[in-house]
């Protein structure tokens, strides 16, 4: 059995994932719903819903729309805020063996730094994933589209945490490698790619856009070949590990990311279709490599 695929993964700074398969941010909440449906502790990591300095109500409905092989979402980072996560959610992760990595989003470097500081003393938090690429909030993409801004953000966060810092990259850029190199040089331990692609769906009955702010983020199998191209280019260019995410629906589509050099994977939208997808992926990878 191939350890690389199904053994533990050391992402650095003490973050060791029990295995390569994780649940992508925003598709597993904070774990409490899925914990009732599947055995979370068989998986490697849970990346929480994007968490911000203050609680957010999220965007008005409709927040999702389906496309051919894809899902458009405009959730708008609905979350209870980092303090609530630290005080009320984290204790409930206490006995979990799945590593909980908190995904953080914000409008300014200060926001991110504050969130990271709040989480720093929390033992149940295994790592930080910086979402510099959320297409659904104002300025949500600025950090993700500008290498300098991204580097400044990462340096600021690096200064206040000993934890493994994963930077979640946006694919909606001309040169994702340039952004990645910048955050690597600024002290990121890992990058994860990709976040969603900016997309739109027209409500044909009215001629208006389905989603409240016109566009949303496209995820699901439709984007897998695009995500795979982005991840392959990152794996070629970077020294730090790359986590592959985008359109994984089964072991074969996950294997593709490992084949191009990804160190681990995240399953997102497919969990909505079948909560057991990530477990099936893990089992499939084990078989493939048995």
């Amino acid at each position: 059995m191939n350890e690389r695929l199904t053994g533990s993964v050391d992402l650095g700074r003490g973050l060791v994932l029990p295995n390569v398969v994780g649940l992508a941010s925003g598709t597993a909440g904070y774990g409490f719903e899925l914990a009732q449906l599947i055995d979370l502790d068989r998986l490697g990591a849970l990346y929480t819903k994007g968490t911000t300095i203050l609680a957010r109500e999220g965007n008005p409905p409709p927040r999702i729309a389906e496309t051919g092989g894809g899902l458009l979402n405009s959730i708008g980072l609905q979350n209870p805020g980092v303090d609530f996560v630290a005080t009320d959610y984290a204790p409930r992760w206490k006995d979990w063996t799945i590593r909980v990595i908190v995904n953080i989003a914000g409008g300014s470097a200060e926001d991110y730094v504050h969130c990271v500081k709040v989480l720093e003393p929390i033992a149940e938090v295994s790592g930080i994933e910086l979402n510099i690429s959320c297409p659904n909030i104002a300025h949500g993409l600025d950090f993700g589209r500008d290498p300098e801004a991204a580097a400044r953000l990462v340096a600021a966060v690096r200064a206040v945490t000993e934890r493994c810092v994963i930077v979640k990259l946006s694919p909606n850029v001309t040169d994702i490698v340039a952004i990645a190199r910048a955050v690597e040089d600024a002290g990121a331990d890992v990058v994860s790619a990709v976040n969603t692609y900016v997309g739109r769906k027209v409500h044909r009955a009215s001629g208006r856009s389905v989603l409240p702010f016109g566009t949303g983020g496209l995820s699901g199998p439709a984007i897998q070949p695009l995500a795979l191209a982005a991840v392959a280019s990152l794996c070629e260019a970077l020294r730090i590990p790359v986590i592959g995410v985008g359109g994984i629906v089964d072991a074969a589509s996950a294997q593709d990311f490992l084949t191009v050099g990804a160190t681990a994977v995240q399953v997102g939208t497919a969990t909505f279709v079948n909560p057991e997808t990530a477990l099936d992926v893990l089992e499939g990878l084990t078989k493939v490599t048995a």
Partner: protein, 282 residues
């Protein structure tokens, strides 16, 4: 507050019958022992439509009724997913995740009014059956549809004893010529202990407006089953938000899949709900 999903489970069932009721309505019977044993009135199941990636998401359907290890679903082919369901043959597998959702609040006495518009009939047989079990016998169903062929048959709202069903059709082909709303005011005379409604948003909105305009005291239990496009159905994607009235009347979001689909009609922001685009079926 985390939703209670302790009863929800993935289940590979089997289609037993797909019956064409006329007017495009279909009633599907499937062997789904877990769902049949655990569904409560207002529960829904997330059904997989086809095995491919288009349509990608499951589709939510009310559990219309349960009998031994089987469940009934009432639907019509409006888009890609329901079209695939409508093509299922006896013996075909049916992939269900359920039961899901916050259901109807039960009453144990008094009279009950159920207001159904079109496919809003779906949750009522299970609801009426449970009310009967609780010895609530005075049940009036107001059942409206575009035309006679699309009226869910009265005898199917409850077995064996048929409840009182007052019917209305927009085109007057059966029962009252007009909307169920017209029948509502009179029904309120009975001072019902509960009013349950399910149907298109405009109808639900009209029900609430009529109740308020009528000046009658609102029934203690006043609930509607609402709809929203669903990503997951189990409270994780946050995609199924619906506007409800928060403190001070400001509109806040609640999740259709876990806070609902059944919500108190007093809490819903009907203006907000009415402003939502109708489902854009493809």
């Amino acid at each position: 507050m985390t939703a209670d999903l302790s009863r929800a489970s993935l289940e590979q069932g089997e289609v037993l019958v797909v019956e064409r009721l006329g007017g495009g309505l279909l009633e599907m019977v499937a062997r789904l022992p877990h769902l049949a044993a655990t569904a409560t009135p207002g529960s829904f199941a997330q059904l997989r439509c086809g095995t491919g990636t288009t349509p990608l998401l499951r589709r939510p359907f009310s559990v219309a009724w349960t009998h031994d290890d089987t469940c009934g679903f009432v639907f019509e082919a409006v888009g890609a997913g329901t079209r695939l369901l409508s093509e299922l043959q006896p013996g075909d597998p049916l992939d269900s995740l359920g039961p899901l959702g916050h259901g109807f609040t039960m009453v144990n006495s008094g009279s009950v009014v159920c207001v159904s518009g079109g496919l809003g009939c779906a949750p009522f047989p299970l609801l009426i059956n449970e009310l009967r079990r609780r010895r609530v016998e005075d049940i009036l169903v107001l059942n409206g549809a575009r035309t006679a062929a699309r009226l869910y048959p009265a005898e199917r709202f409850a077995r064996p004893a048929v409840p009182v069903v007052a019917e209305a059709t927009d085109d007057g082909t059966r029962g009252h010529h007009g909307s169920v709303i017209d029948l509502l005011v009179q029904a309120l005379g009975s001072q019902p202990s509960a009013l349950y409604a399910c149907g298109p948003n405009p109808m639900l909105n009209a029900v609430m407006r009529t109740l308020l305009d009528s000046g009658a005291t609102l029934p203690p239990v006043l609930e509607a089953s609402l709809e929203a496009p669903m990503g997951c159905g189990f409270g994780t994607c946050l995609g199924c938000a619906l506007p409800v009235l928060g403190d001070g009347g400001a509109s806040v979001w609640k999740l259709c899949c876990t806070d609902g689909p059944v919500m108190s009609m007093r809490d819903v922001d009907w203006a907000g709900v009415s402003a939502l685009p109708g489902a854009d079926v493809a």
